[in-house]
Amino acid sequence: MRLLFLQKEELEPFVSRLIAWQEVVGPKAKKNRFVFDKLESPAELRLDYDTTILPPKKYFFQPQQDLIRFSPEGFTGCIEPKPRIIFGVHPYDIKAISMLDYLFSDGKKDWNYLANRQAATIVGINVHQVFKTAFFESMGASIVTKGYDLFLTDIGEEGFVVEVATDKGEALLAYGHFTQVTPDQAQKRRKILYGQSDRCSQKLFNLPEEVSEKVALSFYHPIWEEMASRCFSCGACNLVCPTCYCFDVQDMWNLDQESGIRFRTWDGCLTEDFAKVTVQGGTENFRQDRSSRYRHRIMRKAVYLNSKLGGPACVGCGRCASACPADLANPVPVLNKIMEG
């Protein structure tokens, strides 16, 4: 592992030079929350953020993404990646990005996502403040060993121990003043990354593997009905999730009424019409009840995708819990209750 050191006061010049070179996005404050956004100056960067409203997936799989442009002359694809540095990504989000990387390249490759992903350089950062509803420790997502190009560990007043993981990460080094890391600094890094546990106030009482086994057998558990009676089917829990990647595809004409676009836009399995289809002349909604949709999401996080991903499709970021207006999207109490019963 290649480790270097960046002094605290060297961070701003480093980020400044990166901004002058490429688009750099990072966590910025938005009232009492944070969002990933384009950095105009290094002062905007808030590496002490807890979590962002939307995960960084929005840069690879945009809320609305053109797929095809058409006109009377013909049609073309819209794979147009733009180089970008995503600065200050937390481990759980890095893990979620790795999952999406896998899902979008499994079977047929989705270059509309993958090209954006390839064009991005990811600079990770350890979590300073734990978000109020996060439970990434329970999901094995407090530590990542890959999925980033550089990883910064803030060891306090001195500065950051920087892990250089890839050639893309290597390429950033020219823009900053890095020094050799001392054994003491490397030791501090290890303590911060591996020595801390119990920082999340929310916890699963069981291992994800155990949870997945039991939840798979709980299709008819009363909890789905109980929770979903207050659900608005608003899909907020889907859209803020770093591992949700469902989408709808639509066509639209431009004002000239001749040319237009086919685009995809985020969809959520909690919304009423998600699984509704016209079959054999009638309409059939395969998940008609709120509870079946509510269950589908939890199942999809805890069970359905495990065989593809080798583990649950939830990283414990806690975004869904905070985004739900009815305060019922948090998987932790649901999963713990199923495990108890």
Binding site: S233, A236, L255, Q257, W266, T271, R290
Partner: protein
């Protein structure tokens, strides 16, 4: 595609939707290259009686004697589009449906309350008087959505209006939820399509576009009460733009 003839008409409304459309600027000019507007009070004078491809109607049906005028429009037009919440659902006008008419007229119009043009019945959607091919909600209508739906109509494609709540669009814009700011918001039950205009501008959604097909109103009232609202006020709020949808 032959250039379709379209006309705009208004009934009981604030004309805000017409203004919204007249303010299209560049977009309106481009759209005018593909449609011919033969009647539009907000931007032109002449009126005519020739057949129309699309009649756009603004405002609610709130006077029995408007029925005849509406029927005439229906006869002339191949497609009738009720645009704006007044026309689509009765909109804000329908608020009065729950109160005795008289008291309101006096409050608002004072001594003029007995003038004949104020003789109104319940405020109803245009569809209560004539068959409507498409109802576009919004108070006022959203320009982008209006253009898109009209564009679908011009191509003979049945237009779709989302059946998911405003929250979907709100989250795509990465807004902080009003509830996280100790405010209220009807976005959880309101039909999307406006791009979450209000929460994106720092104010709660009032569901001016009406509700999704199956709004969870019980849960909404519970949520509003939890934010500290009086139960009766919470109910009233849930009804503001949707009086004709939520029966007492």
């Amino acid at each position: 595609m032959k250039i379709p003839k379209v006309a705009f008409f208004d009934f009981t409304s604030c004309e805000g939707c017409q203004v919204e459309i007249a303010n299209f600027d560049q977009d309106l000019l481009k759209l005018l290259q593909v449609v011919e507007v033969v009647e539009f009070r907000e931007i032109m004078k002449e009126t005519c009686s020739e057949p129309l491809d699309i009649a756009f109607i603004e405002g609610s049906f709130s006077r029995e004697k408007d029925r005849e005028r509406l029927q005439k429009i229906r006869q002339r037009a191949n497609l009738v589009v009720a645009y704006g919440s007044c026309a689509a659902t009765g909109g804000i006008n329908a608020l009065k449906n729950h109160k005795p008419d008289y008291k309101y007229k006096v409050e608002v119009y004072g001594a003029d309350a007995t003038m004949p043009h104020l003789e109104t019945q319940k405020a109803l959607p245009i569809s209560a008087a004539i068959p409507v091919d498409l109802a576009i909600p919004g108070c006022p209508v959203n320009r982008q959505e209006f253009v898109r739906l009209v564009s679908d109509l011009l191509h003979g494609k049945a237009p779709t209006i989302p059946n998911y709540p405003v929250c979907m669009e709100c989250k795509k814009k990465e807004n902080i939820c009003r509830y996280e700011l100790q405010d209220t918001c009807l976005g959880v039950v309101a039909r999307a399509g406006c791009g979450a205009l209000c929460p994106s501008n720092g104010i709660p959604c009032e569901a001016c576009r009406g509700f999704v097909d199956n709004p969870n109103l019980d849960s909404l009232v519970e949520l509003l009460i939890k934010t500290g609202m009086q139960p009766a006020y919470a109910m009233a709020k849930a009804r503001m733009f949707t009086a004709n949808l939520v029966e007492e």
